[in-house]
């Protein structure tokens, strides 16, 4: 068991790699990651001047070399600070981790990439492992460590956990002992908060957004999402929990797309709140819902979250007092 002092002695520091969707469309996720990590006694350094990871489904698909060199630049910013880059996005995780893996296993490629980076005065070493924030929570800190911080238990809450793809696959480049089909780590974190993770059909089905599908052929992406949402609704849950802002967007804004495109099939709108893992974890750690981006405090229109958090807040309110 990791004791509190043992871990704190290690002086855990990470570089927060923001990516694009989290800071520019779902800033409540950024807010909740920063605040939960702060509460857990960890230091998150900003990776100043970091860019798009670049997104694996689009930019890697267009030009592999661009994908490699821009990702290596991003990782090198964290290396310079002497920390692992950590990300809350499955897509960024896929890029940073797969590039890290590829460069560390291909000496010639690494040399070629460094030749390019040298032109802008940067260098890639590969010494620091890129991680997902869920990986930090589950593997670096561990459930026992997190349990010390849990103050409230949401035993009435029924949750559909959605992992997404790139946090577990390709499994040979991930830290989950090659488990790609039935992972449990995210369910275990959710259940720390007292909530119940409900089984549903085809739980590991992709949300549909990745691979450049949402950006060019939205009807196909929405068709994936429709199938998932129908399965989730049939299981009778209160909320969806994600660990990726692109999946989050696809379930949140996607509920509107699905309603527009496929109303005859779904009969009525789903209206299932979509919550990011650190928003739920933070609540159960006793953080102010304002600090977790769960309270709307503006009058802006056409803005995330597209599906209101209110029913969720109402549900857990009784358990917070």
């Amino acid at each position: 068991m990791n004791s509190l002092s043992e871990i704190q002695n290690d002086n855990l520091k990470y570089g927060l790699f923001l990516g694009c969707i989290i800071p520019n469309r779902y800033p409540m996720i950024e807010r909740s990651i920063r605040d939960v990590f702060d509460e857990l006694g960890m230091k998150l350094l900003d990776l100043k001047g970091a860019s798009c990871c670049p997104a694996p489904g689009v930019f890697r698909s267009f030009h592999n070399l661009t994908w490699l060199v821009i990702a290596a630049r991003n990782i090198s910013i964290a290396e310079k600070l002497g920390v692992s880059p950590i990300t809350g996005c499955n897509g960024c995780y896929g890029t940073l981790r797969d590039v890290w893996y590829e460069l560390n296993h291909n000496y010639k490629l690494k040399k070629d990439i460094n030749k390019e980076l040298n032109k802008i005065g940067k260098k890639y070493t590969g010494k620091y492992e890129p991680k997902h924030i869920v990986q930090v929570l589950y593997l670096d800190l561990g459930l026992d460590y997190l349990r010390n911080y849990i103050k409230y238990s949401f035993s009435n809450l029924k949750v559909a956990v959605h992992y997404g793809c790139h946090i577990v696959r390709p499994s040979d480049k991930r830290p989950w002992n090659n488990e790609y089909e039935y992972p449990t780590f995210l369910d275990e974190i959710v259940e720390l908060t007292g909530a119940n993770s409900i089984e549903y059909k085809d739980k590991n089905l992709c949300c549909g957004a990745g691979g450049g599908v949402r950006s060019a052929i939205n009807e196909v992406a929405a068709d994936f999402t429709k199938e998932k949402l129908i399965n989730i609704r049939n299981a009778g849950v209160d909320i969806i929990i994600t660990c990726c802002p692109f999946c989050q967007l696809q379930f949140d804004l996607g509920q509107k797309d699905v309603a527009n495109l496929y109303m005859d099939e779904i009969k009525k709108p789903f209206n299932i709140p979509v919550i990011y893992i650190t928003q739920l974890l933070g609540l159960s750690m006793g953080l102010d819902p304002n600090r977790l981006g769960l309270i709307k405090n503006h009058t802006l229109k056409d803005i995330s979250p597209y599906i209101s958090y209110k029913p969720f807040l109402k549900l857990i309110k009784e358990q917070l007092i």
Partner: protein, 189 residues
């Protein structure tokens, strides 16, 4: 040829099985595509193929046969990169990586969807983000950030113009910019 691959493939490339597309796979170290036995496990695992015309097995077969239509069809762009085929291929072919390689070859030849091109040319190259919070159109997103007590722009390329320059230099050096410009010319025609 890599010994490990030689062992699974058990034959040299013969003329009839040699295509320009296949050559590109071999040259970039993705030769194991030749180990495909056409079993269809990838197609059977594919969540996209359940609702679209994408048949992963045929895509791989066409690449092996040098059937150029695979580069022009929309099919390769229907893959959501879920990596199920990659995990399940009984011949350990990194199937998703093969699909991505095909996309790279397609773009090289100028086959790219308009929305994808615009994203690369007008957003990614210019801002170095895939989704921007800059400009008049995105004011609401900056205000949303402020409402959660975050700086209106994140500490990314958005806050450091010299970082945008760095990324653009890299994109020029690896000839991505040139490729985009060529496609742009083609589109105009």
């Amino acid at each position: 040829m890599n010994e490990k691959i030689q062992e699974i493939i058990k034959r040299d490339i013969c003329e009839s099985y040699n295509s320009n597309i296949l050559r590109k796979f071999i040259d970039t170290g993705l030769e194991e595509i030749r180990a495909c036995i056409n079993c269809g496990t990838c197609t059977g695992s594919c969540p996209s193929g359940r609702r679209t015309a994408l048949r992963t097995r045929s895509v791989i077969k066409k690449a092996l046969d040098g059937d150029d239509s695979v580069l022009k069809d929309i099919d390769i762009w229907l893959c959501s990169t879920c990596y199920y085929c990659y995990e399940r291929c009984p011949r350990n072919i990194l199937v998703t990586d093969m699909v991505i390689k095909l996309r790279n070859i397609a773009v090289e030849k100028g086959y790219i969807l308009e929305k994808h091109f615009n994203l690369a040319y007008n957003v990614f190259f210019k801002t170095c983000h895939a989704i921007s919070a800059k400009g008049e159109n995105n004011k609401k997103w900056r205000e949303l950030r402020e409402s959660y007590k975050l700086p209106s722009l994140p500490p990314t390329v958005h806050s450091y113009p010299e970082a945008v320059k760095e990324c653009q230099t890299l994109m020029k050096e690896v000839k991505f910019k040139k490729l985009l410009d060529q496609i742009k010319k083609k589109i105009k025609k």
